[in-house]
């Protein structure tokens, strides 16, 4: 008798669970928010800027002023770290900054790669600006920058950009006196 009672009780519980109406979660509002977020992100994210971002190990210098990048043409980045220099859109390792200064072979190979890029730009559009974007750690001595700029100039780049972090607040610090 007891068993039959418990069985009945179980079946009644299961039955009540089955009978309970399945309420669907209303995700329409969530979808609305996500759509807005998606549109915002797509608007802000461009694939070009991802290529131009240095890695986390680089301590970026900062600046107050900012110039606009030329709208036409391609920008070739070069990243100068304390231990290596990376060149091109695919960030090919060139060697150490010291090797770039002292080793003629490395410098000539870099010059050849730069010349190849500028010639390609000229071939695609002879009037397009040939831009190089220098991204370097804030503590890098200027001799490396100077050498990179001189090689880039010989290779035919006519627009040199320095990449920095925009800190408009620094102006008040500079002009506080």
């Amino acid at each position: 008798m007891k068993q039959t009672k418990t069985k009945k009780a179980r079946t009644s519980i299961i039955g009540s669970r089955k009978k309970r109406p399945v309420t669907e979660m209303n995700i329409t509002s969530l979808i609305d928010i996500l759509t807005i977020l998606l549109v915002f992100l797509i608007k802000n994210v461009s694939l070009d800027t991802t290529n131009l971002l240095p890695s986390q190990k680089m301590e970026m210098p900062y600046s107050i002023a900012t110039d606009e990048l030329v709208k036409e043409g391609k920008v070739i980045p070069i990243q100068i770290y304390f231990d290596e220099i990376l060149y091109g859109p695919d960030l090919t390792p060139i060697g150490t900054p010291d090797a770039f200064i002292n080793d003629d072979e490395i410098r000539n190979a870099t010059l050849a790669a730069m010349q190849h890029d500028t010639e390609q730009m000229l071939y695609n559009n002879p009037e397009s600006p040939r831009c190089i974007l220098i991204q370097a750690d804030m503590g890098i001595p200027c001799r490396y920058i100077t050498r990179v700029i001189s090689v880039a100039g010989v290779a035919g780049f006519n627009h040199i950009y320095f990449s920095t972090l925009h800190k408009p607040g620094e102006i008040s610090e500079l002009r506080r006196l």
């Binding site: 969530l30 100077t146 320095f162």
Partner: protein, 183 residues
């Protein structure tokens, strides 16, 4: 009659059937974290400079005493030197405190900024003169000459001060190039 009513109810049930939003949600859950991951949080800025020209262009101060064609800013480890093309002597801004790693505290950028702000007052160019000669102080070339051991941040701060004070024509010269030209 019965058949028609059945088809109507079937149509109605089809019309009221909710759209399956689960695939869209799945898509969003993949795309949004990816976009957030590649999103640039820091605001990047760019500073443009010109390359030092290979030939000529250095003839300074020939057309008049007040004319400033070029402002040279040399950055050394222990000082900043500012020289106008119509002056023989450079203004020297020694470092505020030696041995400090922070570039902002090390060099006297405040004074450099003040100098650039005062250039207009010190060397006024009248409208009539500007019309005749086409000369504008802010069109003057600012030549920046960093020494080899100076840190990159110092160079950028000097360029920054020039740009902030509306001197957009900035040319990069290395100390060695300048020395070679003098010789």
């Amino acid at each position: 009659m019965r058949r028609i009513s059945e088809s109507r109810t079937a149509k109605l049930s089809k019309m009221t059937k909710p759209i399956n939003l689960v695939p869209i949600m799945n898509l969003f859950l993949v795309v949004i974290p990816f976009l957030l991951m590649i999103m640039v949080t820091a605001q990047m800025a760019l500073l443009e400079i010109q390359l030092a020209s290979s030939g000529g262009g250095d003839g300074a101060g020939n057309e008049g005493e007040e004319e400033i064609k070029e402002i040279s800013v040399a950055i050394f480890d222990d000082r900043l030197e500012v020289k106008l093309s119509n002056q023989d002597k450079a203004d020297v801004l020694p470092v505020i405190a030696e041995g400090i790693e922070d570039i902002m505290q090390r060099y006297d950028f405040t004074e450099l900024d003040r100098m650039f702000q005062n250039f207009d007052e010190e060397f006024p160019v009248s409208d009539s003169l500007k019309q005749i000669t086409g000369l504008d102080l802010h069109e003057a070339l600012v030549r920046i000459i960093p020494s080899e051991i100076v840190k990159y941040q110092a160079l950028l701060l000097v360029i920054d001060i020039c740009k902030m004070n509306n001197f957009p024509n900035i040319r990069y010269s290395s100390a060695t190039t300048k020395l070679l030209k003098r010789n």
